[in-house]
Symmetry: C2
Amino acid sequence: MNKTGLDYVHGYAPVALSRLQDQARTLADLLHHDTRYPPGAHVLEAGCGAGAQTVLLAERSPQATFTCVDVNESSLATARDRCTGLNNARFIRADVRSLPFPDATFDHVFVCFVLEHLARPDTALDELIRTLRPGGTLTAIEGDHGSVLMHPDNRASRAAIACQVRLQRRARGEPMIGRRLFPLLAAAGLGSVHVEPRTVYADATRPGLVDGFVHRTFTAMIADIEDAAVDAGWVTRATFAEGIAGLRRCTEPDGAFAYTFFKAVGVRPEAPPR
Amino acid sequence: MNKTGLDYVHGYAPVALSRLQDQARTLADLLHHDTRYPPGAHVLEAGCGAGAQTVLLAERSPQATFTCVDVNESSLATARDRCTGLNNARFIRADVRSLPFPDATFDHVFVCFVLEHLARPDTALDELIRTLRPGGTLTAIEGDHGSVLMHPDNRASRAAIACQVRLQRRARGEPMIGRRLFPLLAAAGLGSVHVEPRTVYADATRPGLVDGFVHRTFTAMIADIEDAAVDAGWVTRATFAEGIAGLRRCTEPDGAFAYTFFKAVGVRPEAPPR
């Protein structure tokens, strides 16, 4: 998922917006419903991007304060704009791999759709944990592009998704990092690590997820890489188009689509992690 | 999954049995916790096999009565033996494709790990729905062999799983039927169809699932087809062995494994389904 993965309610006619927002919330609920921070907690959101998750976090924990960092200034501008109504989030430009905060600054750390983009998620975790007080939690949420289930299944769609995987790996990211969260957090020295799969499932009875997740998030993300995949010589334009059509086919009344995210929480032990 | 898929607590030393039974229950809970039938309900369990699910169903709904059918007499003998302590389940030999019951006999129908083995799950559903009273529910649970996520990922393991898929398809079954439950039930004329993914996730913090599901259920099932897969010329014995080792590798402390089942419930409308 890119950082705007949850940002799929824009562009609808006002008449449909409310219903779709409600249903779009089901994805946010699936991922975030159990992330709530107590009054007074200082939380680092590492790699906040355009603030899609910040809004959800800050609304759910109105008496916690969020320090949200991202390396990209234009994303931060969007995030600030999106969060103008919130008084418990501040935004700072910083690289999650080298944070401008003393050790043990935060009570909790939250990182969502970020580790997948890093060549060294392990050292990034070390840096995040450095800023976390002993006893505080780190929450990580990531997707896994190996988890797509389509009905009808479609070979061209799988080829197009494989191009996304190759592209992300070429950029030294790991799009199948979801399944690896347990060993990553455990190796970083966190204790009580608990990982849960969170599977988004969309069929005709869930039009908000069909439209908001399958069309406007996942298929849109794959469609975005058409030129890069064709230019790399990994797929023909015809096959890629067939792959996109195959993804859309899953959203017809007799189709189905599933994608699994993983959510992990670990606790920084009282002794330094390593 | 074969019909003994949940039958994985046998063969342990007594000292560990209680703990492992508790944890094995977590898979049963994942799949069955929300299947409870009211007092007096007559339920058909179609394709009960050796009764692994029957025990769980009948214990959860002690005042409902279960009519459990299977085409295999020796499975039924095992099921009867396993259910001797239960007074609300009876076992009858019958083919789910041609049931010896009048129309609208049952208040509810339950079918688990059965449709995957049938060449025509659609006509089997028609027959099941014929025996269901209008307003009654049909519950279907199936796995999906396309849903396996391994860490570390392993090409040979995926090749071995692909052999299982080919074998089952050669026998005219469909091992990726889980994702298809929504269109199948909807096309059969059921209303209010609701499908949920149920993902089994196992890492080192869940030793009962690691041992009970990854080792003794999934890996054991794949290991069982070694000869058939090698004889068919689909894989070398060396690659198959590497695949089994790869599955076992996921159960080490830095590994992880996920598999997604789908659970579907639909209601027979008051008008005949079609």
